[in-house]
Symmetry: C2
Amino acid sequence: MTIAIIGIGLIGGSMAISLKENGFADKIIGVDKISDNLDKALRRKLIDEALPLATAIEQADIIIMAIPVDALETLLPKILDQVDQQIVMDVGSTKWVLAKAIENHPKRKNYVATHPMAGTENSGPEAAQPDLFLGKCNVICDQEKSGTDALAQVKKLYESLQMSIVYLDSKSHDVHTAYVSHISHISSFALALTVLEKEKDEKRIFELASGGFGSTVRLAKSSADMWIPIFEQNKENVLDVLDEHINTLAKFRTLIIKNDFSTFHQLIEKSNHIRKIIK
Amino acid sequence: MTIAIIGIGLIGGSMAISLKENGFADKIIGVDKISDNLDKALRRKLIDEALPLATAIEQADIIIMAIPVDALETLLPKILDQVDQQIVMDVGSTKWVLAKAIENHPKRKNYVATHPMAGTENSGPEAAQPDLFLGKCNVICDQEKSGTDALAQVKKLYESLQMSIVYLDSKSHDVHTAYVSHISHISSFALALTVLEKEKDEKRIFELASGGFGSTVRLAKSSADMWIPIFEQNKENVLDVLDEHINTLAKFRTLIIKNDFSTFHQLIEKSNHIRKIIK
């Protein structure tokens, strides 16, 4: 099996490592518009060969698109124009805009919409790592719109990564990910920005910040190029959950002002319930 | 050296382990108003003996108070009433209210105000762990108000835990910790609450939540009994930084509504600067 990976960053590069290691792929072709990424990927032996897009499409059995979601929206239809039997899958964090962009494409059945729920705050081929996907969950969207063979191959691919699979329609996917992923990033970006603005003395942040602060601002190290298009494509859902989050914070604010620490205590105990869901 | 630890929870219990292990303490006496905690601490061999408060004070060279900050405010003056040569230190997360509560106490020089910047989201003696403090930072407040010997002994204690020491006045301490610790907790409690309210399908949270969500809501598992008194005692500073945080989120919201993703991109790149401060 020859796999072409378009975008050799954290996700594409980590897939390259794992799919080669577990024997699912015999050959990994890398495609990236940044030639420096391809050089790094070749040096780290993430990919066997770097090829131009058209040649990679021709030679591949499965094409994995691991690029930001705005680039996906433009490039996915063009790639589907060029495929014959090849299977195309993306790993983007939003699904609804993309689903609409290719819903009437004659090669729609060659495409499987996926979103492996795994990542770190780092990006680029140097951030690629083995076992990034191990034991995590992958979402397949709108499965009924993919061809039987394409779906079966993509399922095999994710099973080879030892991921569990959840099936959702694109619209539900974007609602859920706004809650469990996108708002976490917005909150973390905002927290880092707030503290950087308020705490001009960076040495103090460095000295005093303990693990708690570190974990809440970890995601604020994430790439703007990757995340801005996600917020843009998932605008309505992100706004919906962001409004709720601001409301919750404003409620906390009012309780503090009113010295109603007893109600505040109850709300914190309610939030502690997350312990039962997230280990 | 005999150390009495009042409050054998995460911090008190972890100090017990480390101070015994590194030889700073010959004997650890445990005091806790919850007898179950004392039983657990004895079973885990965190403490050598469980004693009533008055006896513990009599027998100890250093008394470490590791209890919630509201209890500290009440109990610290009473303990200072009972000491002769003994050194008393607390490890509370707020300092200004406590400083005021004992500023004119005749035994003020026996007391050293400290705040080791270390912790986890877990509490109780079962959460105690070795190396919790290793390489972290401890704050000593208002050092000029402590006696020379008391200060020297407490410095030695923290050096034995391999912590670096930063000196601040109580008021500055409370300002800085509002930024680098208290707001992280408020943000995390709010995020968990928001997601729990919006995402009624808990199975979906569990399935889809990846490491990013986990790290931003980790602190939401923290104890309300510990944190509410911190927010209450540090009310003004917490409100100040909370207002800023809400403003930043509201600014993000406006940019999304106005489709000004270019300015939003710039702000995220600015927040990325946290990467240079927090490793």
